[in-house]
């Protein structure tokens, strides 16, 4: 088993001691068979030797005392998993403080993203915020402005919800067919965690804000860029949260510790980290991060602004770019889908570049504005294949092809690329990022 940035190798070499060779003829889930090589090896070693503990197959760690439980501790992954890491894309940004690191989607299971590899996007580096000194101010068109300590925020009634956060620029390089090699770099600015905090509507109720005048919220971060974004009130009063908890513990520093906004379904920049200020106003603020950046430049030279919802999207994470299939036979194709508009309704998978589609299994529970894991059984016959996934959400939105998207949006966008991703499986089993004509 190898787990590096190219992704876990999907199967053992053919000369490996292995009892599972996967049937070449039928793609059913139920048709695994033993290899005769493995059966021989197993018979020779003998069951008695295994169970008595006297055989050489008993590994050294079973014949020795393991490590003690420590008095106090915080656990880390195995040293064998050290290559499962967030990775910066070399040269992508001129300054490491205004940069990105990507989530290793090719190594992940299920829908929960471990906090340790949740992607990062900072505009002025990661501040070291002292929670005892941190304050959240809520002001503007409100009757009672508030200045809250962390203790104050954490005393309000709370909710916990599993949501994805995706940077609006995720997939940005694919607009112009740059074709970065792995899913970590094509789609790795997305993550999904269980967040805990206070509904923004609960905090706004406390201020007695004027619903007839207050139409927008400005959120400001406490980082050096004082990053600011406008949030329409219909989002703010719906499911926006002020969160301090991430996957059961306090937010990680790079994810806004001790407090961030969470705007479910909307591009990540709106989920302002290190949140220090919320202002209620009557019009959008048109700040730097919503006028110079996070806009979509269209073919006619105009730009789309405040285009925040992350539309329905999916990607196959295994097999994916940089991985290698070691032989014909059974593989489980698996990946992740999401929609900023609600739940995923269906994911279809093609192995021939979109000519034929099969409906994938969705892992339950399928949650609102959360990643959804899909899986499909596949029997690779050794011929070149073009793997694609196409998601449909509960509102009926269908994930477009890159050609459909370019026809409307051109190639000068950076943001909001939710196109179908294609991975080409070569006859030698190597998997490449390609765009199909």
């Amino acid at each position: 088993m190898k787990s590096d940035q190219r992704g876990r190798v999907i199967s053992a070499p053919e000369n490996h001691l292995s009892a599972v060779q996967l049937r070449g003829a039928r793609p059913s889930r139920r048709h695994f068979i033993r290899s005769s090589v493995a059966a021989t090896a197993f018979a020779a070693s003998g069951v008695a030797g295994q169970t008595s503990g006297g055989a050489t197959l008993v590994p050294p760690w079973t014949r020795s005392l393991g490590a003690a439980v420590v008095a106090t501790g915080y656990g880390m992954p195995s040293k064998h998993e050290v290559n499962v890491q967030r990775r910066q894309s070399p040269g992508l940004t001129p300054q490491p403080q205004a940069s990105i690191s990507f989530t290793p989607l090719q190594n992940l299971f299920g829908i929960i993203t471990p906090s340790g590899v949740h992607f990062e996007r900072h505009h002025s580096g990661m501040p070291e915020v002292d929670p005892a000194q941190h304050r959240l101010m809520i002001h503007g068109l409100v009757k009672r402005p508030l200045m809250l300590t962390m203790d104050d925020v954490m005393r309000f009634p709370s909710v916990s919800r599993i949501h994805f956060i995706e940077c609006g620029a995720n997939g940005g390089m694919e607009w112009a067919n740059v074709a970065v090699p792995t899913v970590q770099y094509t789609h790795g600015m997305i993550a999904c965690c269980e967040f805990t905090g206070v509904l923004l509507s609960t905090l706004l109720d406390e201020t007695g804000f004027d619903r007839s005048k207050g139409k927008f919220i400005l959120a400001e971060g406490a980082d050096g860029s004082a990053l600011t974004r406008t949030i329409p009130m219909e989002f703010a009063l719906n499911d926006v949260m002020v969160v301090y908890g991430q996957n059961g513990e306090m937010l990680r520093p790079e994810n806004g510790y001790p407090l961030r906004l969470l705007v479910p379904g909307v591009q990540g920049v709106s989920s302002v980290k290190w949140l220090r200020r919320l202002e209620v106003g009557d019009k959008p603020w048109n700040t730097r991060e919503e006028s110079l950046h996070y806009i979509d430049l269209l073919p006619d030279g105009m730009h789309r602004q405040y285009s925040g919802v992350q539309e329905v999207k999916s990607v196959i994470t295994m097999p994916s770019g940089g991985q290698k299939l070691v032989g014909r036979g059974y593989y489980e194709i698996t990946g992740l889908a999401s929609s900023g508009r609600g739940k995923i309704k269906r994911v279809d998978v093609s192995v021939d570049g979109g000519r034929n589609w099969q409906t994938a299994r969705l892992q339950e529970p399928v949650l609102n504005k959360a990643l959804t894991r899909f899986r499909l059984d596949w029997n690779w016959d050794g011929a070149p294949a073009l793997l694609q996934s196409r998601a449909v959400d509960e509102t009926g939105h269908v994930q477009p092809t890159i050609h459909q998207l370019r026809a409307v949006r051109g190639v000068r966008s950076i943001y909001h690329n939710n196109a179908v991703q294609t991975w080409r499986v070569q006859p030698d089993g190597e998997v490449w990022n390609v765009q199909v004509s």
Copy 2:
């Protein structure tokens, strides 16, 4: 905000700069009010100063460049959260290799337990298993014995499910009213993660096992104790999994890396870690860990054996033992419930030692054999209070009082204490672990 082993302090001191003082009269969610102290402080500082960046309220981390994104990395909690740790109970076990560390439930949010603080229970220390050398053998009453590498196991069709794991001894010291001080030590041998792996039924199908004869499975770990447990076939074919993924990444070393059994709803010892062998047989094995340990000694001197299901249970984690309420007013009572028989149907909370009960809110989604977060609004009037929670599961089982449990099971048990827990709130706000008469 403080987070040490006594738990996060629930509210700020009364002389703290705070905009939230919580209404003393009505326990509704909607009746937070500002304190006049905070309103004055806020008016004096001025909104203009806040927004222009020139006021002294702008913290130092907003006026400087933060830390760079690193080329490759794996994130850790903030240094301010360093006291949120697993903790061993000093003196509980004579050997640190056959010991326990407890999950800090008082510091956690939602239902996902961070892998870094998932409780530990080892019988011969934590082995350092090389995944490339690890094998899983499946043999016994099967037509085709299997010897699987990790690559083999990970190539089978997979599922991801959120389940709790609870040590059968969780709460063991409460049988005899030892009353350890905090919820970390009373209930901290429970955790809940998203696990990914292969259904055991899928692997058994591959062996062509004889359903008429194969009635039990023996699972054996690769640690120095070669820990073995019998699993009835009705569990094995239902929802038992062979898992390699935990909260999106590979299992942590202390949780069985690279492979463990997961027997949802059954005491943790059956979810054998570092899984190396599964044997199909026709009767229970009566191994050391199911004859000398993990049995319930009854008042008449007999013992209950193979009593694995973790019955319906709940505990309030905030406020809980060792925490201190800093004044009268609103608090959100919150805690965790679970049942080894399925979903939680209802949790009731009492603040007067069980005389009166109110139904708590359950956080959706409520999942099968997973932790369920409950919450109830409470207005503390400053008088002594006895906080209790009582869960009911979908099969109709009701969590018993400790007196009901002792009447049947006596006081010589170590295992399977699912009694209602009582926390006493003293007039000074201190919270103590007590047992009510």
